[in-house]
Subunit: 202 residues, 2 copies
């Protein structure tokens, strides 16, 4: 049994991740903190550091969040880009950069990217671009993680549980059960793989 921090536990992907991690000692965190054990804003370095200090000893970080702004490229403002970059991209990179100071030997990080980097749709250029950055980051940084620490990214399509929110903008996409995304996080946390992008698609 591992001590696993699940960030974004109250969201749809967070709930999906939890379905694969029930055999572990899970603690939860989210931006509001409502219904979770801890509060964390991944776009804030100090907030990230506080989380890891408060939790103390832990073996795995599972991140399921990243704030993205959605707009047509020609309408997208610098601020919309930077909100996305500082959360979905740098927020996750900072989770790893700061978290590797605190995580136990042989621990693991599981980040979230997303299918829109390989199946582009309207309005999602910032999501796609930062997902591509995370996929590349994970593949390359795995070689320099210290103390046997592993890192993977889960790159899912939309899940059944979120189809009512995203389905309208994702014509021709096939959603998958959230439990499949849970399996992907479980494989990342419990397996020995590292530097992998686990694609979950129909």
């Amino acid at each position: 049994m591992k001590k696993v921090i699940v960030i974004g536990a109250s969201g749809k992907i967070g709930q999906a991740a939890l379905t694969g991690l029930g055999h572990h000692d899970v603690v939860t965190a989210s931006r509001s903190g409502n219904g979770c054990d801890y509060q964390v804003d991944i776009s804030d370095e100090a907030s990230i550091r506080s989380l890891f200090k408060e939790v103390g000893s832990f073996d795995a970080v599972v991140n399921t969040v990243g704030v993205c702004e959605y707009a047509d490229f020609v309408d997208m403002t610098e601020q919309q880009w930077m909100t996305t970059v500082m959360s979905k991209m740098m927020g996750q990179i900072n989770l790893v950069r700061i978290g590797q100071e605190y995580i136990n030997d042989g621990g693991s990080f599981s980040l979230i990217s997303g299918i829109l980097s390989s199946k582009p749709i309207a309005m999602a250029i910032a999501d796609a671009t930062t997902s591509g950055a995370i996929d590349t980051f994970v593949k390359c940084v795995a070689y320099e993680m210290p103390r046997g620490i592993r890192i993977n990214a889960i790159n899912p399509t939309v899940i059944d549980e979120a189809w009512d929110v995203y389905g309208e903008m994702m014509a021709g996409f096939q959603s998958v059960p959230g439990a499949l995304v849970g399996k992907a996080f479980e494989r990342s946390v419990d397996g020995f793989i590292t530097g992998e992008v686990i694609v979950v698609d129909a």
Copy 2:
């Protein structure tokens, strides 16, 4: 003959790009402006906008620059990450975002990424991550460029002309003549391709 703005024209990759663009009406720009027609800092939105206003009518933007900080991941500071993100990644995205307002119908953008996103080496995680972001950005944003505007990325390995600088950190890499990188930029500017990452490797 097209009016082409080459940014970073005094650098090694800029010089390589120029070898493929001699048949065009080329104007040059660089951060210092020394020996170039214009001065531009791609990490500064106002500077980008000034460049396009000053040049007036143009058909292609060829960018060959992106400032990257190099360090081991565990030693890399937030500031080193952000310097890289705001130049190699957001600097190039902003060139396109702002440039698409000014470029002629049917124009093209040619951005620079780099081989380290697929062949990782020590010290280069920020370079690799932002190169991955640019490759993904180009593949996805091509579908939403207005007025027949095209966009591609050139993803080169190290060139012969820069081997004395980078060779020591790139064991087992084979450099290629800069003229091959010039051909890639030429194919992007003169061809009809869009949304492509042109890899130049041995």
